[in-house]
């Protein structure tokens, strides 16, 4: 009788401690919720988009790896393509004030228009809290959240780490791959890939 109680107590103890783990990014687990203000002053939370696919794109318009995609119009094309299909595309900038990629709000809106950015919103994360919450290391660093709120992809945007736009058509775009598979109901074949790019300027 006593050993049963002890066993139960041990199990209970384990459950209490190993239950809800820290908000670390794990594939197929719940993506942590956050709230940020976008370039137009609107407050947006990840939980606002429950029921839709959400793509998080960490960006920095001055980074040569980001420019690889934006100068060639490739990122904007992806954004337009997927937002038309009902995917919510959120660009996030976590550059700290004074560091590369950090801009005042008016400048953001001007650049967004100039570059033809087709994301649903561009979120400003100056304190870097959300970047750190997600462990964003580089720009670009991509995350995909499914309608149920689970993280199904995190990592590089494609398979060729370089600053050369010419590599884009030759590379496997992991975001397209994962979204294609998830939207068709299949398992995501490459749920993570080491991201490449400039370091996030926290």
């Amino acid at each position: 009788m006593k050993s049963n109680v002890m066993g139960l107590a041990l199990l209970a103890g384990l459950w209490v401690f190993c239950g809800p783990a820290s908000a670390e990014i794990v594939i197929n687990e719940k993506a942590p919720d956050f709230t940020l203000t976008d370039s137009r002053g609107e407050v947006r939370s990840l939980s606002d988009y429950a029921g839709q696919f959400v793509v998080l794109e960490w960006t920095n318009y001055d980074c040569p790896f980001v420019r690889k995609f934006y100068d060639a119009g490739a990122m904007q094309q992806l954004q337009a393509e997927y937002t038309a299909e009902g995917v919510v595309w959120l660009s996030v900038n976590s550059s700290a004030p004074g560091k590369q990629g950090n801009y005042p709000v008016e400048a953001w809106n001007r650049m967004i228009e100039e570059k033809g950015v087709a994301a649903s919103a561009v979120l400003i994360d100056e304190s870097g809290d959300v970047g750190r919450l997600y462990g964003a290391k580089t720009t670009p660093h991509m995350y995909i959240v499914n309608p149920e709120g689970s993280l199904i992809y995190q990592g590089a945007i494609d398979s060729i780490p370089s600053t050369d736009s010419g590599d884009i058509p030759r590379a496997t775009n992991y975001v397209q791959l994962a979204l294609g598979e998830a939207m068709a109901g299949s398992k995501v074949s490459t749920p993570s890939a080491k991201p490449y790019g400039c370091s996030v300027k926290y």
Partner: protein, 727 residues
């Protein structure tokens, strides 16, 4: 005419050596050049050339595995027919920490060496080697660089002469090139979170290297920025590495460089040796935890700051800490109730009391060991945890709050623990039975955890980096210290003779203690508020309501001598309500997602910033003194310290005068980064106060666990006028 021809011939012969000059190409911040070790090529003899990159001050390029960001230098050769590239050798890189990332690369000048095999057939004409190189050069921001480099070398049957311009560079580079060697044997074990490398030196005696670093060839095996555990025992080095989030499942292969360093001394140059290896690692379940000298700059080795503890001192500290714990606000209410019970019992059974003392002590010891064991086990599985980890779990905080709540209900007489339940241990009113005392020991330990007594912090920090045997011994002394006062009271009932005889005053005292307990519940709920999502409030409050109702019904039913069916029904309802009250919040508790609104600023005047290793580095490089306050909402000692010390206006003014930066590290919830920082200072829990002076390179001082404004002011004065260094 002949003279002119001769002159031109002469000129050509003079010019010949200069045809191997390849002009360096400059990108924004790097000079790139293709150089050869020798002045000519001998057919059939392999020769070495190198890509020489010279970066401007502060700029770096990358190794073959760049680390968390960046790009490796790419080399594409265009060689004449018959020439083959044999191998490219990368000299040992350096690690650059740019929190939260780490990268591998080179600063200053680097020569990446390539061995080329010429065809055996001699050609009359000089040979043109072409290299297309592209790289990424970074300081804080990055720029791509590329160059097309040419090098022309004559072919000669004679053994080539060395090009003196590059001889030194090639020699120096060769010292940094890795080699495969039998002197070192490397094995590795891994689980889902960690990799443990064991490196055996097979030569004679002890190798002269004090440290070793691992640079993997693959960029997605380990977390490059994580602190590396390290232990050296003579000729055996152990490295504990965290696996990358991009590497899960089985590791088929592990290869990379081991770079051994000896710091050198007054008569010796610092030495470096790079060894290349490739092995098949072994999968295992549990790996030992190695102490990690903190990686971020400015953080000292464990024990370097504050007191250097020996095992003996740690035991003494643990014992003292345990003793003082009895006086801390967490334990005092529980203990005073135990003493009240003792007084009650002393009148009934004078000789049996010591049994309760032993049982209580056993309960305390058991709980400390259980907590230590759980902590060690979780850490072996890779969780970054420190002392107090149980309070970082919202479910545990809720259960603790419920426990205090039920105890308070009991103190107020809402219900009494009946005789029938004594085997489960009526914790507070009327302890009957040895088991009851054992359980009170367990309870006392559980409620003691939010409090950290003086001496405890240092002892625990020491304990958790020792082999498990020592850890348990230190925790045992902590338990003994805590159990001692109660134990003495049971063994020497004479001590109790001074206390007035039992009477109505005991009931009043109980009710006063009950109020303290309710206050604790309120405080724990505020902690839970910080840890759990907003939506969890309702289930938690509802849970308390249900429990209160359930215990009231139980109290009435048990007390009144009702007819059995009615009593059983009432007890059943009570049980259901209580069960619901506990389970509902447990199932409904959701962890809070974002940090928004969780920032706490205490004390008027001191401007607290959020702690991060990057911010600390920044402040230190600015030359400002920095005070780091590691705290948590559930840490009662921290709360008391903040009210007493950090609310002082005099202190705030001094901070402003000396331009002291104040960083607050909130450890209320699990945070691997803060846990690592705490371990870097040789501690394992909160509170922890670290003070950096404005002198760079100076080791920071650690303030005691209980602080007053005077202590902090004194410490600030000390860093202003550091004691003179001994000759």
């Amino acid at each position: 005419m002949r003279k002119t021809l001769l002159f031109f011939l002469f000129l050509c012969l003079w010019m010949a050596p200069f045809s191997i000059w390849a002009n360096p190409v400059r990108s924004s911040h790097t000079e790139a050049e293709l150089v050869a070790e020798d002045l000519s090529i001998q057919p059939g003899r392999n020769f070495a050339v190198g890509l020489r990159l010279k970066m401007d001050e502060g700029w770096h390029t990358y190794w073959r595995n760049p680390g968390d960001s960046g790009l490796p230098t790419v080399m594409t050769w265009v060689l004449p027919e018959g020439f083959r590239v044999l191998e490219t050798e990368w000299p040992a890189p350096e690690k650059f920490d740019l929190p939260p990332l780490s990268v591998y690369g080179y600063e200053g000048e680097v020569l990446i060496v390539t061995k080329i095999a010429p065809p055996p057939v001699r050609s009359a004409l000089p040979v043109l080697l072409e290299l297309r190189a592209s790289w990424l050069e970074c300081k804080v921001n990055c720029l791509p660089g590329e160059a097309v480099l040419n090098l022309e070398l004559p072919v000669s049957d004679d053994p080539p002469a060395v090009d003196s311009r590059w001889a030194d560079l090639f020699d120096e580079t060769r010292r940094r090139l890795p080699c495969l060697t039998d002197d070192w044997k490397v094995t590795a074990r891994y689980n889902t979170r960690k990799i443990l490398l064991t490196i055996h030196y097979r030569g004679q005696g002890d190798p002269p290297f004090s440290a070793v670093e691992f640079f993997p060839f693959s960029d997605s095996v380990i977390r490059h920025a994580a602190p590396v555990g390290f232990r050296r025992e003579g000729g055996i080095y152990r490295l504990g590495l965290e696996r990358s989030e991009f590497s899960s499942g089985d590791l088929a292969h592990l290869d990379g460089l081991l770079v051994f360093r000896s710091p050198g001394g007054r008569t010796e140059e610092p030495r470096l040796k790079a060894v290349e290896f490739g092995i098949i690692p072994e999968k295992t379940e549990v790996l030992e935890d190695l102490p990690s000298p903190a990686q971020a700059p400015g953080m000292p080795f464990p024990g370097a700051a504050g007191l250097k503890l020996t095992a003996g001192m740690a035991l003494v500290f643990a014992f003292l800490g345990g003793l003082i714990l009895n006086l801390m606000p967490c334990v005092l209410p529980v203990l005073s109730i135990k003493v009240l019970n003792l007084i009650e019992q002393a009148n009934e059974n004078k000789t049996g009391a010591w049994r309760h003392g032993v049982s209580f002590s056993a309960g305390v010891l058991f709980s400390f060991w259980a907590l230590a064991g759980l902590l060690l086990a979780l850490r072996a599985f890779g969780h970054e945890l420190g002392w107090g980890f149980q309070l970082q779990s919202p479910r545990f905080v809720f259960l603790l709050a419920m426990l205090f709540f039920v105890a308070a209900l009991n103190f107020f007489g809402i219900f009494e623990i009946g005789v029938s339940l004594t085997s489960l241990g009526g914790q507070f009113s009327g302890i009957r039975g040895i088991t009851g005392s054992f359980l009170s020991g367990v309870l006392a330990t559980i409620v003691a955890t939010p409090c950290t007594a003086p001496f405890m912090g240092a002892a625990l920090g020491f304990a958790l980096i020792q082999p498990p045997g020592m850890t348990f011994l230190i925790f045992g002394f902590l338990g003994l210290g805590m159990a001692l006062p109660y134990f003495l009271l049971t063994v020497y009932p004479g001590l109790l003779s001074r206390v007035p005889k039992p009477g109505p005053w005991m009931v009043t005292l109980k009710k006063i203690m009950g109020i303290f307990l309710f206050a604790t519940v309120v405080w724990l709920l505020s902690v839970l508020d910080r840890q759990a999502a907003f939506a969890s409030r309702m289930p938690v409050w509802a849970g308390f309501l249900l429990a209160a109702a359930g215990f009231w019904i139980y109290g009435k039913a048990a007390f009144q001598a009702e007819k059995p069916p009615k009593k059983t029904a009432a007890m059943a309802v009570a049980f259901l309500l209580i069960a619901g009250g506990i389970l509902l919040p447990l199932l409904g508790l959701r962890e809070r997602g974002t940090e928004e609104g969780v920032r706490v600023t205490t004390g008027q005047g001191i401007a607290w910033e959020t702690f991060s290793p990057g911010r600390l580095e920044e402040l230190l490089s600015e030359g400002r003194p920095v005070l780091i306050n590691f705290t948590a909402a559930w840490c009662l000692t921290c709360y008391v310290n903040e009210k007493i010390a950090f609310s002082s206006p005099a202190l705030a003014e001094k901070f402003r005068d000396l331009n002291v930066a104040a960083l607050k590290a909130d450890w209320t919830r699990r945070d691997a980064e803060i846990t690592r920082a705490i371990r870097g200072y040789g501690r394992s829990g909160v509170p922890l106060y670290v003070l950096y002076g404005s002198e760079s390179g100076e080791t920071p001082s650690i303030l005691p666990e209980l602080i007053t404004p005077e202590i902090v002011l004194e410490a600030l004065d000390k860093i202003q006028s550091p004691s003179p260094q001994g000759g």
